[in-house]
């Protein structure tokens, strides 16, 4: 098919790979993380007789499904070298908007549309400030973190919105079949979609290229700002999905909803092996990390570990998250 017939006397054959992809996967961070998840699972099942109960396990998934759905989009954003710390505040604002709409009798489809639209607008605002004005995303989203939740506080004060339509509870409290919750199905679905987007499309390849060397990516004809803007939109949108699920599960909206989640989402992403400096990471890693964090919190809860100790464990986990990948890469050379 080529129009250049260059002949070289001794063309050197370059092999595609030296190592089979499966072999390489075996030595990856994700495999190590999976082993950790299995170990925690086994430890939990020994520590508490209630752990292996299917309904208990199903309950455990609510510890991470909403955060993980944001973490998938956040993983792409961090791989591209940006970050969004306003995700939890976006949930608050989207939930407040849904609550206000519910008060005037908007039905479930309308509520979902409003929640998603508000969070998409939040993402678009972040994206416009970062890509349009060239501001650093960490500063922009620390700002909008206060801004979005601030609006929620102004609207609600110390009040709460209740009175959501009965069928709105389906997202956060419904079950698809047996013990499998609607949220878990959404989690699995988005894991698949984001996994395909990052690992199997041109768009995903552009995300890696931008995170590794944005200048060279631009010189390669990639529309860097556009890709980044789309990533902010996606992160906003996933915050909206989480807002729908969480609001539906709680059945109420307070301005303090999802407080501090941004750090848990970032922890999940980084634990999943995504480089905080950008350029590396995978969706399977984030999925496993979500299970690890969910299992740890749930296991400690079953053991009646007091909240203060649980926060110490989470803190230790956070530091381990930063240190372990580095030690791991050092060990792998």
């Amino acid at each position: 098919m080529t129009d250049m017939n260059l002949t070289r006397e001794a063309v050197r054959a370059i092999p595609d790979r030296l190592e089979h992809p499966a072999r390489r996967a075996l030595k990856s961070w994700e495999t190590l993380l999976l082993a950790v998840a299995v170990a925690i699972f086994i430890a939990n099942s020994f520590a508490s007789p209630y752990f292996l109960d299917p309904w208990n396990l199903s309950d455990a998934t609510f510890n991470f499904t909403e955060k993980a759905m944001i973490a998938f989009a956040m993983a792409l954003l961090i791989i591209a070298g940006e970050i969004d710390l306003s995700v939890a505040s976006t949930i608050a604002l989207a939930s407040t908007a849904m609550g206000a709409a519910a008060q005037v009798g908007v039905g479930t489809p309308g509520l979902v549309a409003i929640g998603l639209a508000v969070s998409l607008a939040c993402g678009a605002f972040n994206g416009a400030l970062v890509t349009g004005l060239g501001l650093p995303s960490i500063v922009v989203t620390i700002g909008t973190m206060s801004l979005y939740r601030g609006i929620s506080y102004i609207v609600l004060g110390d009040q709460a919105y209740r009175g959501y339509p009965a069928d709105f509870a389906w997202f956060g409290q419904g079950y698809a079949f047996w013990v499998i919750s609607v949220e878990f199905v959404l989690f699995a679905l988005f894991a698949l979609l984001f996994g395909i987007l990052l690992h199997a499309t041109n768009f995903g390849r552009a995300v890696y290229a931008i995170g590794n060397n944005a200048t060279a990516a631009a010189f390669s004809g990639i529309r860097v700002e556009r890709v980044k803007f789309i990533l902010f939109l996606l992160t906003g949108l996933m915050s909206g999905v989480a807002a729908v699920c969480l609001t539906s599960r709680l059945g109420s909206t307070r301005p303090s909803i999802a407080m501090g989640w941004e750090l848990e989402v970032v922890t999940m992403v980084v634990l999943g092996g995504v480089s905080i400096l950008g350029g590396a990471g995978s969706i399977p890693g984030v999925v496993i990390a979500a299970f690890v964090m969910g299992l740890v919190t749930f296991g400690l809860g079953l053991l009646n570990v007091p909240g203060i100790v649980m926060s110490i464990v989470i803190g230790a986990l956070l530091i381990a998250v930063i240190a372990l990948p580095r030690l791991w890469r050092k060990w792998r050379g």
């Binding site: 050197r12 370059i14 199997a200």
Partner: protein, 516 residues
């Protein structure tokens, strides 16, 4: 701990027979694959300016780095006041009184003038704290000595470019320098500022300092230098007194060598016009660039560093928007607003700064190659790995790439092999016009030859090639036609018999023209 330095020769006495402050003998420096300096000698005399002349890549920068303690020579000796000296760190060079003023000195906008001047060696007071008062007083004295009226307490941010330059010079002199190296000090200066620099150099001469003045501009050299030394390909090929030399002598020494033998012989088959550029202009970098490029042609762009060649090429590739001008491809007007547009129209650009703009070091070779071609080889936006490997293998093997596998991170390869991958990446898009910006800069001889040979093959297949190069042999050996740029404008278009080293250098430096 400052080493004791005997006082400099008192008063202005620029006699040629003074003993040199600094003398280099038989200095050799080798990098993997490249001999940067081979048995070079240099002498710097008190109260005199010695001009160091040579093409890009002649070894001038390497020499400066040896003098300032950044590189260690592999062989030869450095004599300070006749005694052997070791400059094994920048601190040792500073202690020996050797200082350099670079084209672009790193200064800190948010520190004061005095803090910038004394950063790293500020006078200390009690408890080891910085003695701000003493520092400002010394800074004021230094600036006064330069004839600059700048308050040492001013934040650097508030100064203009020219004043910042003076601060950089004051910083260089703050270590009680005896030898001052000026590496293309006028490159960023306006006419008036250059005049002020000359005054300053006269002042330093009067203080008995030895000055090494590196410049491409002959008018400056004849204006300010007392002596000259010429480097070519890492060797010293001539030295003497400026008063006894002519421009023609210096140009001949700079470029005089056989240039034909190492380049592929080709019989260009030049076809129809592919690219027509009309009146391209940029607010600051270039103006009024017009030319026509034909299929099968290699068009060289020659000029000094800063002549606007790369800036123009990047505008052509859509990285920056031109302020004016139009473009035709195959006679059809097109607008290029982004690199994506350029690639879509078949114009590709292999950048000069490979590490920053060309290669994505952490990504595998094959992903680097396919990055701009993904739209073509994917299916509905989904990657097809087998196609990717096929495309990458195809082009990497044609460029005779040496790599363990296509899955190897690009950053682990040698510079020459990385460059082959970057070229492969662009050829894989099947372009009409390929712009190569310093395509063989910093790569070994073997890779150089491979790149040249490949360039010739591309032209033979009907590609239109633009090659930006600062290396005269490369320009002469590869180009069918050469555009010489000077200060952002086309200074000359040369081909055939007009294409000689002397004409290139003359047009690039603006020699032999009356006024501007």
């Amino acid at each position: 701990m400052r080493q004791e330095i005997p006082p400099a020769a008192a008063g202005p006495s620029p006699l040629p027979h003074d003993a040199p402050i600094l003398a280099l003998r038989g200095i050799t420096k080798t990098f993997p694959g490249v001999r940067a300096l081979s048995d070079v000698a240099l002498e710097l005399y008190p109260g005199q300016v010695t001009a160091l002349i040579g093409e890009n890549g002649a070894g001038k920068s390497t020499l400066v780095k040896i003098l300032t303690g950044i590189y260690q020579p592999d062989g030869g000796e450095i004599l300070l006041d006749g005694a052997p000296a070791r400059l094994d760190s920048p601190q040792a060079a500073a202690a020996a009184g050797i200082t350099a003023i670079h084209q672009e000195t790193v200064l800190f906008d948010d520190l004061t003038v005095a803090e910038n001047i004394f950063l790293g060696h500020a006078p200390r007071g009690r408890f080891g704290l910085i003695d701000t008062r003493a520092m400002r007083a010394r800074a004021a004295r230094l600036l006064q000595g330069l004839g600059a009226e700048i308050d040492p307490g001013t934040p650097l941010r508030d100064l203009g470019i020219a004043s910042k330059h003076l601060v950089a010079i004051a910083r260089a002199l703050s270590i009680e320098a005896r030898v001052v190296i000026m590496d293309e000090p006028t490159a960023a200066l306006s006419h008036k500022e250059i005049e002020e620099l000359y005054t300053l150099i006269e002042r330093l001469k009067a203080q008995g300092k030895a000055i090494l003045f590196i410049s491409h501009k002959f008018d400056e050299i004849f204006r300010i230098a007392d002596r000259y030394t010429v480097f070519r390909d890492g060797q010293m090929v001539g030295a003497g007194l400026i008063a006894e030399a002519s421009e023609a002598d210096l140009v001949r020494q700079m470029v005089g060598r056989d240039v034909s033998q190492i380049f592929p012989s080709r019989t260009p088959r030049i076809g129809a016009p592919v690219l027509q550029v009309e009146g391209y202009a940029h607010p600051t970098e270039f103006a009024d660039i017009s030319f026509t490029l034909r299929a099968g042609e290699i068009l060289g762009f020659y000029g000094l560093v800063g002549a606007g060649r790369s800036e123009f090429c990047q505008a052509l590739f859509g990285m920056t928007r031109p302020a004016a001008g139009s473009l035709r491809i195959d006679g059809q007007p097109v607008a290029i607003r982004s690199p994506a547009d350029a690639v879509a129209h078949g114009i590709v650009y292999v950048p000069e700064d490979r590490g920053r703009q060309g290669a994505i070091g952490a990504m595998p070779i094959f992903q680097n190659v396919t990055l701009p071609s993904l739209a073509r080889i994917s299916r509905n936006g989904f990657l097809r790995l087998a196609e990717e490997f096929r495309l990458a293998r195809d082009y990497c093997e044609r460029l005779d790439l040496r790599a363990a596998s296509l899955d190897t991170p690009l950053g682990t390869l040698s510079g020459g092999n990385q460059q082959k991958v970057v070229i492969a990446k662009w050829l894989a898009t099947r372009p009409r016009v390929i712009i190569l910006d310093e395509p063989t800069k910093g790569i070994d001889i073997g890779s150089k030859a491979a790149v040249h040979e490949f360039m010739a093959e591309l032209a033979a297949q009907g590609l239109a090639v633009i090659m930006v190069s600062s290396e005269i042999p490369e320009i002469l050996g590869m180009s069918d036609r050469v555009i010489v740029m000077r200060e952002g404008r086309i200074a000359a278009e040369l081909s055939g018999g007009d294409l000689t080293p002397e004409t290139l250098v003359r047009h690039a430096a603006g020699i032999g023209e009356t006024g501007q």
